[in-house]
């Protein structure tokens, strides 16, 4: 979960007024720097330095020669993208379809549940429901996939029940035709509850006087929802849509790679698994790296663009100028 707003940086402003010289500050703050060093080093080594690894998108990388000595091949590796390699296109279209399904079916659910929770009268019932619904978020994808197989698989609990009662069977797991629905259902199960947190936090900050004023003006509960609650969480919704956009090309790598074996690549290959299977699996490094690089660039570009649009509409977005 990534949520930043302006005070993080804005807090710097007052200190800048009578800032002592560089050398003075270095002598004063060197211990703080030393504190930051180990964490910063880890961040640089495993978040920024790896970006250099993208050069192999322009090389014919051979693990035995090493990155430096592998020959440059210009844009050759990008041919799979420009020439429309069918395997690549299949992965791309699966990615986009799953992403779209998630935006339509997964994104609004936490808002609905949060509205429901927020309208509860009993605080205790609300807390119990929250505790239960947040729990699956902390389970790893391996656990969630195993639980789904166990509940809904061909030999699972539901089908066992259906069969003993002669009700046919429900073939969701290991069924290529239903793979995307399965992925969406798993995400809903795992993260709907967790997704309500930010909306609930935003709702709790709405001034109760607004509801009172609306009620005095004769607004029904539904109209209050429309005119007070939803506007109150608008900026959170926009923020999350922006972040979601940045992830449009990343759809649950762990979740999908775990279930690929059963349904085959045609139904289940997405960009991340395409990159992983071709590179780490089959040793086709250059082309996979090219696909990964393009994917990464599009992701960052989408976040920046969406943020720009949010600014145009006077919203705060992820960061401020």
């Amino acid at each position: 979960m990534v949520v930043l707003e302006e005070p993080i940086v804005a807090a710097e402003a007052p200190a800048a007024r009578s800032r002592p010289g560089r050398r003075v500050r270095l002598r004063r703050d060197w211990l703080l720097l030393l504190c930051a060093l180990p964490g910063l080093a880890a961040l640089l080594a495993f978040h920024y330095a790896p970006l250099l690894g993208h050069v192999i998108a322009f090389k014919d990388y051979q693990p035995y020669i090493g990155i430096g000595d592998s020959p440059w091949v210009g844009l050759d590796n990008f041919r799979i993208i420009f020439n429309g390699d069918p395997v690549f296109l299949n992965a791309l279209s699966n990615t986009l379809v799953i992403s779209l399904l998630q935006l339509v079916f997964v994104f609004p659910l936490p808002i609905a549940v949060a509205l429901l929770l927020n309208s509860l009268v009993s605080e205790r019932f609300k807390r119990v429901v929250q505790s239960v619904l947040y729990l699956p978020h902390f389970m790893s994808w391996v656990i969630v996939v195993a639980i789904f197989q166990y509940m809904l698989g061909n030999a699972g609990l539901l089908n066992g029940f259906l069969q003993t009662h002669d009700l046919g069977s429900f073939n969701l797991i290991g069924n290529p035709g239903m793979f995307k629905e399965l992925i969406v259902a798993q995400v809903v199960w795992k993260d709907t509850g967790w997704g309500t947190i930010l909306f609930l936090a935003a709702m709790s900050r709405i001034d109760p006087a607004r509801y009172e004023a609306a009620a005095v003006d004769g607004a029904s509960r539904l109209r209050q929802l429309w005119h007070v609650t939803l506007p109150g969480i608008r900026s959170v919704i926009i923020l999350l849509v922006i972040l979601r956009l940045g992830d449009v090309l990343s759809v649950g790598f762990e979740q999908i790679i775990l279930q690929q074996q059963a349904v085959g690549l045609e139904a289940s290959d997405v960009l991340d698994t395409y990159v992983f299977n071709n590179a780490v699996g089959s040793g086709v490094w250059g082309a996979s790296a090219a696909a990964g690089l393009v994917k990464g660039i599009i992701g960052v570009a989408l976040v920046l663009a969406a943020n720009k649009v949010a600014h145009l509409f006077d919203e705060r977005g992820v960061y401020q100028k």
Binding site: A42, I67, Q130, S140, I143, W189, R205, V300
Partner: protein, 289 residues
């Protein structure tokens, strides 16, 4: 919602209650069934066609068989080791980094903060990460399960926000009394931040316990598999598992579900502590910035 509105009518309230209760059941029921199957005896599992919702004669046979073999035992030990070492290192580095960034206007503070913030907007990508770990010679090393995920930038931001909220006068007076940065950190900041440190530590611990991505990418030697990879092999991909002494008169399903329970239980144990804090502390802090 608000005190001014008249509460919704009984039917509406009942409907809400029913919907939310159903949601809760959808979450709880699978866990109950998993635990039940792991505890059920052989006859019942066979009779039920594999899985049971409630065990008639609960027993721990499945667990005994699991831990008599070395596959699961070793994986559990690996996961415990990674979680302990990883959480300690992550928490230490995160606290120090957050503290180092908690003095506005300090030398190089702003660029470092920007590096932390910006890292949230992109991920380095699968291949570059793999190559980095490979170049560092960490493939098939336990360190590959710890170092790449050592710092979670979001946790740094949350902790820094907490440190920034600490009363300035306290820090200033300590400085006037001649305390150095490290003394202030150890004597004043840390004791006041126990709650946030505990929560972030738990978040790290759960992440290490669950870690799958790193293990999938960097670990090929199955003697070094953490629990998540063993789960994938034997539960998700359905490979046959047996105990060390070949005493597997037990149905596969019981063993698989027992393995699942072993990986779920630690999370459920720390969950109440996590839950107590994150709802009000972390998330609201994050929204405020």
């Amino acid at each position: 919602m608000s005190t001014a509105t008249t509460p919704a009518g009984v039917p509406v309230r009942a409907a809400k209650g029913v919907v939310l209760t159903l949601c809760c059941l959808l979450v709880i029921l699978p866990f109950v069934a998993v635990i039940s199957t792991s505890l059920a005896d052989q006859q019942q599992v066979t009779a039920a066609g594999g899985y049971v919702l409630w065990p008639d004669n609960p027993n721990l046979d499945a667990y005994r068989v699991l831990f008599s073999g070395d596959v699961v035992t070793r994986a559990v030990l690996v996961s415990i080791g990674i979680t302990l070492v990883g959480t300690t290192l992550s928490l230490g580095c995160t606290t120090l980094l957050a503290y180092g960034l908690s003095r506005p206007g300090s030398f190089a503070g702003k660029p470092i903060l920007m590096l932390v913030l910006f890292s949230l907007l992109f991920s380095p990508g699968i291949i570059p990460l793999y190559l980095t770990v490979k170049q560092l010679g960490l493939l098939d090393s336990y360190w590959s399960l710890i170092l790449p995920t050592l710092i979670n930038a979001f946790n740094v931001i949350v902790m820094r926000a907490f440190f920034l909220e600490l009363p300035k006068e306290l820090l200033d007076s300590a400085k006037i009394d001649g305390a150095g940065e490290l003394t202030i950190l150890a004597r004043i900041v840390l004791p006041l931040s126990k709650a946030i440190i505990a929560v972030i530590g738990l978040f790290y611990a759960v992440a290490y316990w669950n870690s799958f991505f790193s293990a999938l990418l960097y670990i090929t030697d199955n003697a070094k598999y953490p629990l998540s990879l063993v789960l994938r092999t034997y539960v998700v991909n359905n490979a046959t598992i047996g105990g060390g002494d070949g005493a597997t008169a037990l149905p596969q399903q019981s063993l698989q579900m027992a393995m699942l329970v072993v990986s779920i239980v630690p999370i459920v144990c720390v969950y109440p502590f996590l839950q107590k804090h994150f709802a009000k502390g972390i998330m609201i802090g994050a929204v405020k910035g």
